[in-house]
Symmetry: C2
Subunit: 132 residues, 2 copies
């Protein structure tokens, strides 16, 4: 997309050059995860039509699904009123966004002061990430 630079230049990245991106299932509306993007990954997400994040732990571009196959096809990108947060609507391949094998990363729910695990493991992590 030739206009990529123009649109990402309007975003306000933090002091680390990052912006939070909320991934939401484009059909169910379920919030799947929150991850971070830098300018390059924002542009790549649009160019490639898939969610490309910035992995803070690996300090590298992270094409969601590159290991797991759980790619997120980009359907829509929105920014908020302050231009410092993104919302992306995605089609979640495999129906699994979380590295724990669950549909959403937000599977721990506060219940009477305790975090309770909810949401089934659709596929165990050791089946998602092969070690060969």
């Amino acid at each position: 997309m030739s206009k990529g630079k123009a649109f990402s230049a309007q975003l306000r990245f933090n002091e680390q050059g990052l912006i939070p991106a909320i991934a939401q299932d484009w059909k169910t509306g379920e919030v799947l995860m929150l991850a971070w993007m830098n300018s390059e990954s924002v542009e790549l997400s649009v160019q490639e039509g898939r969610a490309v994040y910035w992995s803070r732990s690996r300090a590298a571009l992270w094409r969601k699904g590159e290991e797991s196959g759980h790619v997120q096809h980009l359907k829509e990108m929105r920014m908020d009123c302050d231009a410092d947060a993104l919302l992306i609507m995605v089609e979640q391949v495999g129906g699994i966004a979380c590295h724990t094998g669950r549909r959403s990363c937000f599977y721990q729910k506060l219940d009477n002061g305790n975090w309770e695990v909810t949401g089934p493991v659709i596929k165990p992590a050791d089946e998602i990430y092969r070690k060969d």
Copy 2:
């Protein structure tokens, strides 16, 4: 809630002592906004049953709706797999989360490389925020 400290102690706050919190409409699933909380505001949100954020610009607690009346009643709180992001399900009083008078802060949508404004202004900002 007496167990407040226990649950918030499990969260991973960033170097500024903050954690991003996504507010989602508990009925429609619409993502309304992303804001930040510190440990105290997380606990207050649960204790008071309403979203209490940390305003980075004002460096102060921000009881959502304290000026606008657009309070967010807390229905559910979730944390993600890394314990470094929150998702709160809220009942949005007035149906307006954004200071621009729109339902959601994410009203700017990327369209062919340009950010297009979507979503009607339900109530003009100058009617929301009285200057008397």
